[in-house]
Symmetry: C2
Subunit: 379 residues, 2 copies
């Protein structure tokens, strides 16, 4: 909660549920990452939050962009980015989408299979491509490992084949998983990618780029390593793997850049021990839930922090099950990991959910149970 | 796949992904349920699919409506329903929403806690209320049991208290869980609700209604009991519990009414053994996934059937992992329960996902990864 957000809440008292993002925090995060890894070119993962205000702010700061789809590419260009600043970073692209991106001037495409490489070769001839490796996601609260990436052996094979298909084998990428709280994950992944990189170089493949993906964590309910700890580990691993000159370094932060810039303001609809007895669990139902934007509470993976109007008092707390407003039985955010909330909390109270700037607004459903999409305020 | 949908797909070849719903099937399902349980008044669970075309069709057939929110109530009234035909069936209501519903003429409200009952008493004085009981959801593919409902003891207490709060204690409800494939669940739940009903009657509470909720299944990947089997079990249980006269009977079908009326038309973006080896699992990525509407594949709970262009040939099949188009690692629909799909299936092929008329359109995210919401066609 920044002073700017606190002031906005007090003065505007916006209707709930809503997301409020302080753009100054985005700028600060950009600067922190740049400072921790000066040689890295930042490709902001647009999917984390594609709000025009965020994209414009990042364009002004000189950021590049990792886009997952044609609409995301369009949003980046509309915010003032040049096509050369945008990477088409989804390994899953329809042929029409590849053509469209190419026509828009996009020149950097990811792949992780022979089929996708061939599609890019046919529909974006001459483009620069990079191959995504599958690496361990241990330590990540939101893993990505199974769905994406290929083996180093197959990646080597495909990168060696790229020139004969008329493509430029530009680099390698990996993703250590989102909300990665262990610096060692980057260490291991750079060793794996580094070995392949050197072997490709030795074979005369003019590879130039290493894309470390995203994953850098934001602070939810527990401390995470400082971004400088990640920076130091990464630089050491690069020195070890590339003693002469480092490759061109790409970073794709999403959560790190916008997560802690935002808060969700929500209202308690009901707080009750439904069975009526003291032994019954206390349920707190909010006007936002898993289908209103809090999708990453699935499996209780991301554990947000809550601020209530009763936090300053000595009010006793009880562990509460937190659920959303819909008639859906799976619309429960925390049940195994109950949230200690003041017993004074009641229907109509306003709560803030911290660090919700990333992966909230666009996950929201179009009209689940008739509830309109989340309102957003960028200040 | 009805002939009407097949014709629409052939003639219009609509852009994918999209949902196509045959309204004739909705009408047929309404008639089937009416025939199986003639004494039941149908309150369609609007949340299953609130498309105006469906609501208008059901208004014309004489249906009533179970609404989860103010926007859903508005949609029902806009489709021509009278306020007396609408129940505010969400146990979670803000006080402003209760007042608003009351002003719109809504006279039937559910509750499952003392707090909610008190809110209704204050903001919709004189309204009819019914209490939701928690019952076992065994046999349901999409259970609802933990989040809603109270104990019979507490329900009895609250129903006895309602008159002193100025409310009319109208009835009891339960929900056996969605996609409930066991008829016995209704049998047990009616016994539980029946005992409380009779005890309230004996105490002079003028209770009149029993609401059996929804749960009636649609056919996905395996046979489910015919609706007449549910009807027979329910009538027997009612005869046993209410030997003289049955209570007024309410039914809240959602999935049953619209599930099999719809199909999703989707395109294969990529089909690949990413590692390049025959031993690697085959992944099929579609242009719709968990965040594009297929939310009920969470935990692989609802298992849809697929039609491909290669089904008629003798093509060999392999078990495939099915995933959505986004960069999100949890956007995987079936991995444990792999789907046998033809080896000939390739990028660009068009697939139909059957029985997707319910709980697909509105679960869709507003713009996850930049993908626009699902297109819908009602024919």
């Amino acid at each position: 909660m920044t002073p700017k957000i606190t002031r906005f809440l007090t003065e505007q008292s916006p209707a709930t549920p809503c997301l409020i993002v302080d753009l100054d925090v985005v700028e600060q995060q950009y600067k922190n990452l740049t400072e921790a890894l000066p040689e890295g070119r930042i490709f902001y993962a647009v999917k984390a939050n594609p709000a025009p205000a965020i994209l414009k702010k990042l364009v002004a700061l000189g950021s590049c962009f990792d886009a997952a789809s044609i609409p995301e590419i369009e949003m980046c260009l509309a915010a003032g980015a040049q096509p050369s600043q945008v990477s088409y970073g989804n390994t899953l692209k329809k042929v029409g989408q590849i053509r469209q991106a190419r026509e828009m001037g996009i020149d950097l495409f990811v792949f992780d299979s022979a089929e996708e490489l061939e599609k890019i070769a046919e529909h974006a001839p001459g483009a620069r491509v990079f191959c995504r490796l599958a690496v361990e996601n241990e330590g990540a609260d939101w893993p990505l490992s199974r769905k994406f990436g290929t083996t180093t052996a197959h990646a080597g094979e495909l990168m060696r084949r790229a020139p004969s298909l008329g493509l430029i084998p530009h680099g390698l990428s990996f993703h250590v998983g989102s909300q990665q709280t262990g610096v060692a994950a980057y260490d291991r992944a750079i060793d794996i990618a580094g070995a392949l990189y050197r072997s490709l170089k030795a074979d005369g493949i003019d590879i130039r780029m290493l894309n470390l993906g995203g994953g850098y964590p934001t602070t939810y309910n527990r401390d995470v390593p400082d971004i400088h700890a990640f920076g130091e580990t990464i630089i050491k691993a690069l020195d070890r793997n590339f003693p002469g000159e480092h490759p061109e370094l790409l970073l794709e932060p999403g959560r790190y850049m916008v997560g802690r810039a935002g808060i969700v303001s929500t209202e308690v609809i009901l707080a009750s021990r439904r069975g009526g007895a003291e032994k019954d669990p206390r349920w707190v139902y909010l006007d936002i839930g898993r289908f209103g934007g809090m999708a990453e509470t699935e499996g209780e993976a991301i554990r947000y922090l809550f601020r209530t109007p009763h936090d300053q008092s000595d009010e006793t707390r009880s562990p509460c099950i937190l659920a959303g407003p819909s008639c859906d039985g799976v619309d429960i955010m925390y049940e195994k990991n109950r949230v200690p909330l003041p017993n004074a909390l009641k229907s109509g109270d306003r709560i803030e959910i911290l660090a919700t700037g990333a992966y909230v607004s666009t996950y929201c459903s179009t009209g689940f149970n008739g509830f309109p999409p989340l309102e957003e305020h960028y200040i």
